[in-house]
């Protein structure tokens, strides 16, 4: 009963801590947009391709409320935001929030496939590497992990595109729709970098577990090593590994921008890169803000579920408060 209570207290505390962060995120996104200054309005008018007079500029600024004090503008903007109104894109004239939501499923799909592939690659290889510590397979796997860690994802994308897309013609170079065939290359690209990173962490976690006394005990009692590995080591390591992966969802969501734009994958990352090139500030703002919010939320959920799964951390965490 007491434990449950302290977890609840911790949860509430964390959610309360989230509020200033959310405010900071929205304020920063807003300030970013305004720092771009009157330039935004000029940009918007120039994008229409017309000749602009100073009077028209002033009128446009007044229409957008840019002549009011900064904080008033922020509060107006925040109010609109809470009603789901983030303005319209300078380029397409479409509603920003709708555009963002329409692109989000593609990015989520890519994120999920990449994480699944990362799990498929990094967990078995990490375990093999730990079990055969300092033997041939360990060095072999760690060599590839090192290589994977040293290649920027845009280089991996282009090499994959050249080999799998152009030379072997396995996959389409430009994705046309959301299908497993088009998601293959962006997924492989993202999974290579992530697997290289997580494989090492799986290895460390499993090695820690293998160093514990109960392994020796099981060995002494004549339990088969494979049984110990699957029944005990795996179960114990899984909590750590799942947490690491869940935490990577957040960074992955942000990291897809380059890969999406290379493979023309129509998600929020590509949307953001296009918007940056067009100086389409409302879209950039929406992207930064929503990505930050998703990231913070995912991290919070992971942290809480981690504590729920592992009572030791739950107690440590609350003792420290």
């Amino acid at each position: 009963m007491f434990k449950g209570y302290s977890l609840l207290k911790y949860t509430i505390k964390r959610i309360l801590q989230l509020i200033p962060i959310l405010f900071a995120i929205t304020f920063l996104s807003f300030a970013m947009m305004r720092l771009a200054g009157s330039d935004v309005v000029e940009q918007k008018m120039l994008n229409t391709g017309q000749v602009v007079t100073d009077a028209q500029l002033e009128a446009a600024k007044a229409q957008l409320g840019l002549d009011k004090p900064f904080l008033v503008q922020y509060i107006t903007w925040l109010n609109d935001l809470l009603h789901g109104d983030m303005g319209v894109s300078f380029v397409s004239g479409m509603d920003v929030f709708d555009t963002f939501i329409s692109k989000l499923p593609a990015t989520l799909f890519l994120t999920v496939t990449s994480i699944v592939l990362t799990v498929i690659i990094s967990i078995p290889l990490g375990i093999i590497s730990a079990v055969y510590k300092n033997k041939f397979w360990d060095y072999f796997i760690r060599f590839f992990s090192f290589i994977g860690n040293s290649m920027p994802n845009f280089f991996v994308s282009l090499v994959l595109m050249y080999i799998l897309g152009i030379k072997l013609r396995f996959f389409p170079i430009i994705s046309r729709e959301m299908s497993f065939e088009s998601v293959a290359m962006p997924t492989i690209t993202l999974a290579i970098a992530m697997s290289a990173k997580y494989l090492r962490q799986v290895r460390t976690t499993v090695l820690d577990e293998l160093g514990k006394d109960y392994i020796m005990g099981a060995k002494a009692r004549g339990v088969k090593f494979s049984t110990t590995l699957w029944k005990s080591v795996m179960r114990e390591s899984l909590v750590t590994i799942i947490t690491l992966l869940a935490l990577s969802i957040g960074s992955l969501l942000g990291g897809t921008a380059i890969v999406e734009s290379i493979f023309m994958w129509d998600g929020v990352g590509k949307m953001a890169v296009d918007a940056i090139n067009m100086r389409d500030y409302p879209i950039i703002q929406a992207y930064v803000m929503w990505m930050a919010i998703i990231y913070v939320t995912v991290n919070l959920i992971t942290d809480l579920s981690y504590r729920l799964l592992d009572p030791r951390i739950r107690l440590e965490g609350t003792d420290n408060e």
Partner: protein, 283 residues
């Protein structure tokens, strides 16, 4: 079957340390060569990296142009060498900046403690709560293209990591008896920080910085690839790959040679980083 042997003999430790030292010398030499190429790029490149000759456009790699030529007939090999300047030197500048700023902030905040420390840590929490690349994209988009702006964008998001390391190290050194003795002896805070704290926290910070060079090289090149770093015609690996990428099918060398240059540099820096860590923190 795995048996975890936790006991390592003194001799084994010595052999390991010696091996690490050898590796350190080799990788440090390679890294210095790389930096030397970047510094003396002008004298090393066989052709003028900016001289255009349209009659020579998209030449395949040959004896005269070992990496071929690009759309404007510029020699790729010369451009890759000169590109080292924008890519490597700016990465080193970036890592120096974040190390100095992060260490200064972390050490001072850890040393003073109290409210200052709480505020600094909240601020760094806030930066760490952001997905790094998204924030860097936003800052770079706001500032516009340019190598300097890309460095600023990455510096803004990266310093908190160093501040954290420096702070936690400072906190552990601060309570040690020699610092207490210095306080009793009447040393003023700057003296204590420079003479007693900084020399003792230098190791972990150096390791963090060394391990970061490779990642930063890739992130800086990534920003340039997106058009947010170095601007054409400046030779920079990321932007060279980006400008050649539509020609991947027909003229792959335009994209692959700068890519391989990035890869090799990152490998060298990562090897050096890993070795420095092993050397300073043998396990």
């Amino acid at each position: 079957m795995s048996s975890v042997n936790r006991q390592v003999s003194v001799r084994q430790l010595k052999v390991k340390k010696c091996n690490t030292k050898c590796r350190l010398i080799v990788f440090a030499t390679l890294a210095i060569c790389l930096v030397a190429v970047a510094v003396f790029a002008d004298r090393l490149c066989p052709y003028d990296p900016y001289a255009q000759d349209l009659s020579l456009s998209y030449q395949a790699p040959s004896a005269a142009h070992i990496m071929g030529t690009d759309a404007y007939g510029r020699d790729m090999f010369s451009r890759v060498i000169v590109g080292a300047r924008a890519s490597i030197l700016s990465t080193l500048a970036l890592v120096c900046i974040i190390t100095l700023v992060g260490t200064a902030v972390g050490t001072i905040s850890g040393f003073i403690g109290g409210k200052v420390d709480a505020i600094v840590m909240r601020v760094s929490d806030f930066f760490l709560a952001f997905p790094g690349l998204v924030f860097a994209l936003a800052v770079a988009a706001l500032l516009g293209g340019g190598v300097l702006n890309a460095i600023i964008a990455l510096a803004v998001i990266s310093w908190p990591k160093y501040a954290r390391v420096a702070r936690s190290q400072t906190l552990s050194v601060k309570v040690s008896s020699f610092v207490q003795a210095a306080v009793l002896a009447g040393d003023n805070p700057p003296q204590i920080i420079f003479r007693h704290i900084l020399p003792n926290i230098f190791g972990p910070i150096l390791v963090t910085a060394m391990l970061d060079i490779g990642t930063m090289t890739m992130e800086l090149a990534g920003l340039s690839f997106l058009g947010l770093g170095a601007q054409p015609p400046i030779a920079e690996w990321g932007s060279m790959m980006s400008s050649g990428r539509s020609m991947l099918q027909t003229y792959p060398w335009v994209v692959l040679s700068p890519g391989i240059a990035i890869f090799i540099s990152v490998v060298i820096f990562n090897l050096l980083g890993d070795t420095v860590r092993d050397y300073l923190d043998p396990k």
